[in-house]
Structures are given as C-alpha cells and as structure tokens.
C-alpha cells in the first residue's frame, strides 16, 4: 500500500515541472504540453484523495477534467496550426501583436 504522501509529492513535482516549463519555454507546443502536465498532476492528486477518502466524486471530477483537457488540446492545437499558417512561427517572443 503506497501512502498518500507519495502521491501528493509526485503530483507536486509534476505540477512544478509543468509550471516551470510553461513559464520558461518559448515554444508554444511545449507550453501546451506543460499545461497538460499540470492538469494531469492535479488529476493524480484528485484520484489519490478519492481513494484515500473512499469517495467517488473525485474520480468523476477527473473524468470531467480529462474531457475538458481533450477539448482544450484540440482547440489549442487548431489555433496553433492556424497561427503557424499565418505567421510561420511557434515562438512566443515573435508574437507581440498585443504589445501596448
């Protein structure tokens, strides 16, 4: 039986990797992957708590998160493809249209 703390630790590590990646990388594809990492880190902790508390609500929530993440990934990649066709870049430093 793996104790709860291990799951929490793993989840935290994965989440921090995601956040750090999102903040320091400039490639949009990598940034999208990092977002997925963060989501899945949260999913992991939700499932761990669900098992620990013997409550299925956490798992239901995870299924919702996966669904939304799938939709998000699809839309995000679609925007990315459209962006690449127009600008031929996937590097965020080059995309400064909104600069005030």
């Amino acid at each position: 039986m793996v104790p709860l703390e291990w799951y929490i630790a793993l989840s935290t590590v994965i989440f921090i990797i995601g956040v750090t990646g999102f903040l320091i990388r400039r490639n949009i594809i990598i940034m999208l992957i990092c977002i997925e990492l963060m989501l899945n880190a949260v999913n992991l902790s939700l499932i761990a708590f669900s098992h620990y508390l013997q409550d299925l609500k956490g798992q239901i929530l995870v299924i919702f998160v996966i669904t939304v993440a799938a939709a998000e990934a699809a839309i995000g990649l679609a925007i990315l493809v459209a962006l690449y066709r127009n600008k031929a870049v996937v590097h965020t430093d080059k995309l400064t249209e909104m600069k005030g």
Binding site: V19, F22, L23, I24, R26, M31, T92, D93, L95, T96, E97, M98, K99, G100
Partner: protein, 640 residues
C-alpha cells in the same frame, strides 16, 4: 359644460389649429382665428348680459394642483369687473384680427401671426376670468410670452428681436415682485382663491413683518409686491422702457397690446385686489403717485418725439398712469371706466397710425408726412375723432372717463389734490401732442419724397371697417358713465360698485363744475396751442427747440432712462456674464470638468498600457504569481 369655459377655450383652439396646420391654409388662415375670437366675443356679450341682470358666475372647472394644503383649481369668476374686461378684450381683439387681414396681407408668417394673436387673446382671457391668483399669474406670464413672440415677430430684424427680449426681460423684474406677492398671499392666508382671500383679509390687519430692521405692515407689503408686477406689465415708472420699443412689432399688435391685452392687466389686477389696497394707505399713495408721475413723465416725452407710433406709445404709458392714479385715490371704477374708453380710442389711434404707415410704405416720421387728409379721408376722420376723444373734448368717450378720474382725485385728500393738479397738466399735454400728430400728419403740405406722394392711397376695406367700428366706440364708449351732474346716471360706476366700491365724494356741485371747466379749458387750450405751433406758425417749435435746447434734448432722449439702465444694469450684467460666467464658470469650471475627466482616463491608460508587454511569459508569470498570492492568503487566513 357651461358656455363660459369657451370664452378662453375658443381662441386656444384657434391657436392650436393654426400653429399646427395653419401653413396649409395659406392666406385663409385668418378665418380660423377670426371665427374663434368672434365666437368668444359672442359668448362674452351673452355673459355680459347675464351679469347685467345680476348674475355672478363663480365656479371651479377642475382641480389644477393639489399638494398638501395647497389647492388650486382652474375656475372662472365672472363678476361685473370681469364682464367689462371681457367685452373690452374680445371686441378690440376681434377688430384687430379683422384689421390684420388687410395689414398682414402677403406676409410669409401669415398663419403664425394669427395663431399668436389667438394665443394672446386666450392668455388675456385666462387672466381676467380666473377665480384665483395662480390662474391670474398664468395669464400674466402667458401674455408676457405672447408679447415677446409678437413684438419680435419680424425676428430677422435685430431691433425687433431686441425689443422682444427687452419687453420680456423688463417684465421679469416686475413679475419677480408679483411672484413674491403671490407667495406671501399663500403663506399668510393659505389660499389663492379670490373669495377666500377677500374673506380672510381682516386676519392680516395688525400683522407686521420685519425687513432689514424696518417694520412693514403685511398688507402694505403684499399690496406693493403685487403692484411691482403691475408696474412691469402696465409700463409704469421705472419699468416703462419696454413699451416704446414694443413698437417694433406689427402695428395691429401694438393696438392689441395697448388697448386690450397686456398693459391693462396691471390696472385690472389692482382693481381686482381693491379690498387689499384699501387696507393700506401707503400702498394707495404709492399707486397714485406712481401713476401720476408716470403720466406726466410720459406725456412730456411724447411732446417732442417724431415717430408716430412712439408718440402714441408714450400716450398709452401716460393714460395707464391715469388709470393707476384713479386706483390710487380709491376710484377703481373710474380707472376701469377709463380703461374701457381708452381701449377704443387707443386701438383706433394705433390702427389709424398703421393705416398711415401702410400708405407711407413704412415711414413713421411725422415730420416727413403732411396733407394726408386728402388722400385717406376715412383714416383722417377716424384718427381725428380718436384724438378729440383722448384730448377730452366734451361728448366723446375720453372726456367722461378722464373727467370722472379728475373729479374723484380732486376729492381724494392731500394726495388726491396733488395728483389732480398733475392730471390736469397731463390732460393739457395730451391734447397738445395728440393734435401735434394730427396737424403734422394730415394737414399742411406733403413733406416726403415724390415717389412716396405717388404711393399714397386709402387702405383696403378690411382695415377701414374696423376703424369705423372703433370710431363708434371712441365716440360712445363714454356714454355709459355720464356723471349725474351732466344729466347721466354714471351707469358703469353703479354697475361696478358691488366689486369695486365707490369713493366718498364730498365736493360741491360748484367744485365739480370747476373741475370739468378746467379740464375742458386745458384740452381746448392744448389743441389750440398745437394748431398755432404746427399749423399757423411753424417757426415757433423751431424757435422753442433752439431756445430751450437742453430741455428739448433731455425730452428727445426720454430723460436718458434707457442710457441709465444701460450703464447701471445692462452693462454690469454683461460684464458679469462675459468676465465671470463665461470666462471663469464656463471656461474654467464646466469645461475643466468636462475635459478633465477624459484627460485623466487617457493619462491612466497611458501608464497602464505599459503592462501589456506582448510577451506571453509575462502574462503567465502574472498568473502564477497571482495564484501564489491567493494560495498564500488562503493558508494565512482560512483556518482548516
């Protein structure tokens, strides 16, 4: 519904029709207006007959304002006083409407002119028929508004637009006092209906009010405040300046303003509030002296003016002074009697002057006229009769009313004696200047240009017929008030007695004969002097003008009252407006706020847009930092 409501309502309907759809009627617009006033006139005559038979109508049509204990209705009070006013207003108004058909022919604003005439008549009828002070005030302001419309009728001409504004603004000064008077009545008596006011007047007796350390009796204060309004509306000193400038309007309007509507409102109001004025000797003295001084003042100005309409205008101011003089000595009925006769001969004088102007293609200077009696006989004869009437030649309308006033003034104590002397002098001056117009305009040789002489013609019948009808009035209007001494019954005096009372007369018959004789002598003397100076020896006026040049200049410039007001009121106001209100309040404060707010927002925007770097990582950093802050706060403050 009673028929009385239609007296003011018909002209209002006429106004509504003409102002909205009148332009489609083109030159037929006058039919609506004339029929409306004709209907009003017929109902007025029927009402007058009922009142003569002893009926007094006083009823409320509907509640106008109910707010707490402030209750005012639209209602009608038609007693003897109102009945006389109804006849004056509707008959003169009707004749002016008919006359305008000829006079305003071909004017572009034809329908507009007639709709304003209708509105003017409506306003005046509301003023005289109302049974409460607020309705009077409504009519009071509405005639002021209409006078503005009509004096400034030729609004493309700057002088006309200015005259309209002047009339309106000068009236504001008087109306301010009048408004305060109305407030005072409501505060002290709690009602604005005439019957309640007069029933409770005795409550005011003995009450005083302290203004700037001076104790003033309440009745005196209210009477004087109300009189302020009358001074403005009836063009008495010091607010007489608007009436002469009001000549910028079309001539029928002058006739209407001077004879039937507007200026008589002040006299009517004072007569209506006679129980109030009777309670205060101070107020009575003020009214009498204001009237007497104004009549003298205006008559002397009229002596030297050359503009035919201006002379008649100053004559109106002078005659209104006469009416106030009468009211001030308690002879209200005589004042209203003079109002009644004056309406006819003054309307006739104005319409006659309009007819002369029509023939002279707008020329107003009597020095450039002359010999017109050959070209326009009807105008000449009617004008001559009106002049005889205003001069006070026995048998004509003006004689009886003027004589009644002078006789009652003679009986009115010390102040009465003073105003009697002034009144007699004014009678002489009136005869003189009236016949100065007649002799310079209709006698002698024509002094204008050759083209003008060629253009001279008698006016169309729509103009001459009203002149002839008014001539009948100018001759016979006085016959209702022939004094007992001359074999009459002074019917009008007895008729008005229930409302206006009758002053105590203690003079003997001999004295009355003396007063009459003096007034006849001065009238004939005035006419004779005018004849000498302008008919037989034209060098005399020139000689007098040179010898008494300073007096002549002062009179010619109307005692410099306009200039005085210009320096003391108009210029400081303009200075205040341009230097303080425009330069500081408007430019600095208002525009400062209006422009400052967007400027502030733009300033903030300029600073905060720097946050928008365009780098996605910066935003992500912001989000992460925000998340960190929120989580930290949760840990610190939320107890788990």
């Amino acid at each position: 519904m009673d028929k009385y409501i239609f007296i003011p309502l018909l002209p209002l309907i006429g106004f509504c029709i003409n102002i909205w759809v009148g332009k489609f009627f083109k030159e037929k617009a006058h039919w609506v207006a004339i029929l409306a006033v004709l209907g009003s006139f017929i109902i007025s005559v029927m009402t007058f007959v009922e009142v003569v038979q002893g009926k007094v109508i006083n009823y409320d049509v509907y509640s106008w304002v109910i707010s707490g204990n402030f209750k005012v209705s639209i209602g009608f009070l038609i007693d003897q006083l109102t009945a006389i006013m109804l006849i004056v207003v509707t008959s003169v108004s009707l004749l002016v409407h008919i006359y305008s058909v000829g006079y305003m022919h071909g004017d572009t604003g034809y329908y507009r002119f007639f709709s304003y005439l209708n509105l003017f008549t409506f306003s005046m009828l509301m003023l005289v028929t109302g049974n409460n002070l607020l309705q009077l005030y409504f009519g009071w302001e509405a005639v002021g508004l209409c006078s503005y419309f009509l004096i400034g009728y030729y609004f493309r001409k700057k002088s006309a637009a200015d005259a309209g504004k002047k009339a309106f603004i000068v009236n504001r000064f008087g109306d301010f006092g009048f408004g305060l008077g109305v407030f005072m009545v409501f505060i002290t008596l709690g009602t604005l209906h005439y019957t309640d006011i007069f029933a409770n007047l005795s409550k005011l007796e003995g009450q005083t009010i302290n203004i700037l350390g001076v104790d003033i009796r309440l009745v005196t204060l209210i009477a004087l405040l109300l009189f302020c309004g009358a001074v403005g509306k009836s063009a008495q000193i010091p607010l007489h300046v608007w009436l002469a400038d009001a000549m910028e309007g079309p001539t029928p309007v002058s006739a209407l303003i001077h004879a039937a509507t507007m200026v008589t409102a002040g006299v009517f109001m004072v007569a209506r509030f006679n129980p109030l004025y009777n309670m205060s000797d101070t107020a009575m003295a003020v009214v009498a002296l204001t009237g007497a001084i104004t009549s003298l003042f205006a008559a002397t100005i009229a002596l030297v003016q050359n503009d035919i309409k201006r002379i008649i205008a100053y004559s109106t101011v002078s005659q209104l002074g006469y009416m106030f003089l009468a009211c001030g000595v308690g002879a209200y009925a005589a004042g209203i009697f003079h109002l009644f006769t004056h309406a006819y001969f003054k309307a006739l004088l104005f319409l006659g002057a309009g007819s002369v102007m029509h023939a002279m293609a707008g020329q107003l200077d009597i020095q450039k006229m002359g010999g017109l009696r050959k070209y326009m006989p009807i105008t000449f004869w009617t004008f001559l009769i009106a002049s005889f009437s205003i001069a006070g030649i026995p048998g004509l309308a003006g004689f009886f009313s003027k004589d009644e006033i002078l006789w009652l003034a003679y009986n009115g104590g010390t102040i009465g004696k003073i105003v009697w002397v002034i009144g007699t002098v004014v009678a002489a001056l009136t005869a003189f200047y009236s016949f100065r117009i007649v002799f310079l305009t209709f006698f002698g040789k024509f002094r204008g240009t050759h083209e003008e002489e060629h253009h001279l013609h008698e006016s169309p019948s729509s103009m001459t017929i009203p002149l002839l009808i008014l001539m009948v009035g100018a001759i016979s209007a006085g016959w209702v008030g022939i004094p007992p001494l001359l074999g009459g019954g002074n019917w009008i005096g007895h008729f008005l007695e229930p409302v206006l009372g009758h002053p105590h007369v203690h003079g003997t018959h001999a004295e009355e004969w003396m007063v009459i004789a003096i007034s006849i002598v001065v009238a004939v003397g005035g006419i004779f002097t005018a004849a000498v100076m302008y008919l037989w020896a034209p060098s005399i006026p020139l000689f007098l003008g040179r010898t008494f040049k300073s007096i002549y200049t002062v009179l010619w410039n109307k005692y410099y009252v306009d200039e005085l007001y210009d320096y003391t009121i108009v210029r400081p106001t303009k200075w205040l407006a341009s230097r303080i209100l425009v330069a500081v309040t408007d430019a600095k404060i208002i525009e400062g706020i209006v422009n400052g707010v967007p400027k502030l927002i733009a300033e903030f925007g300029e600073r905060f847009r720097k946050l928008q770097t365009g780098f996605l990582q910066h935003y992500a950093m912001g989000m992460a930092f925000g998340l960190f802050v929120i989580v930290s706060l949760v840990f610190i403050f939320v107890k788990i």
